[in-house]
Symmetry: C2
Subunit: 352 residues, 2 copies
């Protein structure tokens, strides 16, 4: 795993992991999957997939104000991890911590967010835990099954593979920027941020793809993490109108925000990034069409581990992701400084 430790977040994860022994039943190594894959006794056909994900920073930082969003994202973020390993969901358990001052309506709106998201996905809440505390925190843990013969992880990409995105990106960072920069809310209201876990798509992707990961941390960070894990690079040929969700592209035009910002922040949208060997792209596209799934072609994988954009001028520009990723962990609260840096990089790379 070349260059993993260049990224502060990876270092933090590794600093926890080294205290724990490894389970003999675990299939994946750290960083290799969105959900953990486990052998189950008495089951020759499937692995168990399990993941845990908390929604708390988004709430304490005021990004989510609507309790419906809090419940919705708790469900979607967890099932998105399952989607990225192509799992068939078994359900979710949820632990909820609320201030004692929150009224019944607030609780009910969280519950409705959870319930509606589950209905959309055809999944179920199996149980949970309720607590009181000084702030709001929701933690989900989703479980599912993955057919042994169709295991997919973040590791295994080959040079030349096509790079795809399940649907348009950027809604997470659009909401994040409106909040951070205190732009008028109507430019990108919170109610527009309703990410969907791509469960059905993941089950199709696992049959064709060499790697898969969700964009819970935004598109560029996802591509960079996949690049580091695979020691491969990605050349992104698609234009911004193709990459971004229509409402996000529109937001950029109206708010005069460089499009690439919508892929560079850390608040993602839970789409899937995956690579398909070029020989399988046609059959993949055909089967995808049969479930009304139209994946977005981003570009292709290459040998040199770096992220490269093909500019409208056809010029290729390599972007340096480590400073960008670490900036969030070291200076995430100083928006002016962040924006200055982003604009400087954007200009340097020719992305704005």
């Amino acid at each position: 795993m070349n260059k993993m430790d260049e990224i502060l977040e990876n270092k933090t994860i590794n600093s926890w992991v080294r205290h724990f022994s490894r389970s003999p039943y675990q299939i994946n190594n750290p960083h290799e999957t969105d959900a953990e894959l486990i052998e189950i006794k008495g089951n020759d056909s499937h692995f168990l997939a399990v993941t845990i994900d908390s929604v708390s920073e988004e709430i304490s930082e005021g990004l989510y104000q609507d309790p419906f969003t809090m419940g919705w994202v708790t469900v979607m973020s967890n099932f998105s991890d399952l989607a990225a390993v192509g799992a068939e969901p078994l359900g979710i358990v949820i632990s909820i911590s609320l201030e004692t001052t929150r009224d019944k309506n607030f609780r009910e709106e969280i519950a409705q967010g959870i319930g509606t998201a589950c209905e959309k996905l055809g999944v179920f809440v199996l149980g949970g835990d309720t607590n009181t505390g000084p702030d709001i925190s929701l933690t989900g843990c989703a479980i599912g099954l993955v057919p042994r013969g169709q295991k997919i992880t973040r590791l295994g990409c080959k040079s030349g593979d096509g790079v795809f995105l399940s649907r348009g990106a950027g809604s997470g960072n659009a909401l994040g920027l409106v909040h951070l920069a205190k732009l008028p809310e109507e430019l990108f209201p919170e109610s527009l941020y309703r990410p969907h876990a791509r469960i059905r798509e993941g089950q199709l992707i696992r049959k064709y793809a060499t790697i898969c990961m969700d964009t819970s941390d935004g598109l560029l960070i996802t591509l960079d993490q996949l690049s580091r894990i695979n020691n491969k690079g990605f050349v992104i040929e698609a234009d911004w109108k193709t990459i971004l969700a229509p409402e996000v592209f529109r937001f950029c035009k109206i708010a005069k925000v460089p499009e690439w910002f919508m892929t560079a922040g850390i608040h993602g949208e839970f789409e899937l990034v995956f690579t398909i060997p070029s020989s399988k792209i046609n059959s993949f596209r055909q089967e995808a069409k049969s479930i009304s799934f139209n994946p977005i072609y981003l570009g292709y994988a290459k040998q040199k581990p770096a992220i490269e954009f093909v500019l409208p001028s056809k010029k290729k520009v390599e972007i340096d992701m480590a400073p960008l990723r670490n900036l969030w962990d070291s200076n995430g609260n100083d928006l002016n400084y962040l924006m200055q840096k982003y604009h400087a990089w954007g200009k340097k790379w020719g992305l704005e």
Copy 2:
């Protein structure tokens, strides 16, 4: 489920549950188990058991000061839920939220608490999630397998069954009282509070018992909840020296605290309460002895749904649990009021 809604906590849980559809793969109903039991496709031999449990209130209220305790209890509380359904553990995923101000040592001591607890149980951390927030919160989700033929829940107790406790109770409430009443810490230091999930014992209990539940909320609340779920009662014949852990009994003597308080508070110790049909008690005890497990006989189940204590005078006294349980939810912060109420009840019931 007679009288369940008399208890505020049960009402709160039901107010969440009614927003969600029920999974067709789930075996248990709400309140019926410590861990959720799920059918797994392709597995005819086992059910999947899954549970989620957060350690946050204990930290925000200052009950746990030592980061090692925080990590330790996160592991033990989750595997204790698995123990209560007799599960064979597959592992745990943990989500950790810490203030950004916490240093590396603090993080490492949490990790050591987690790692040491896992080693003790022979279980593994499979993965996790790290966050920053305004306070400390740890959420675990443990998964395991239960043989289909040996399913055990909280429901199924028969009148006449013997009532047992896996080991002496009270350490959770001893720590709680020292903290709440600001008693000298050396009377019951936090380092004495190292509960153990009774995994091995649970796997034996499931072969004999009619019901099982852990004492994560304290012994009396556990007995009361089982009474309400089963619409049965329990007659407690054991004396306090038998019921309490030796260090807790000693603490009561030195601190001049009525012994029954140690079973009445809501901060438990993760022992197992279970009932065994009288015809099976001898063979259960024999097999238990073979793994150095000496369960404590508490008394027996009876038809009338109430908790009854047999006093040293042989007089039987019925205790009214609903006001006691609801007091914590409505007045948990006013210690003086709480203690007055407890002493009044204790005198009325002849327990002090």
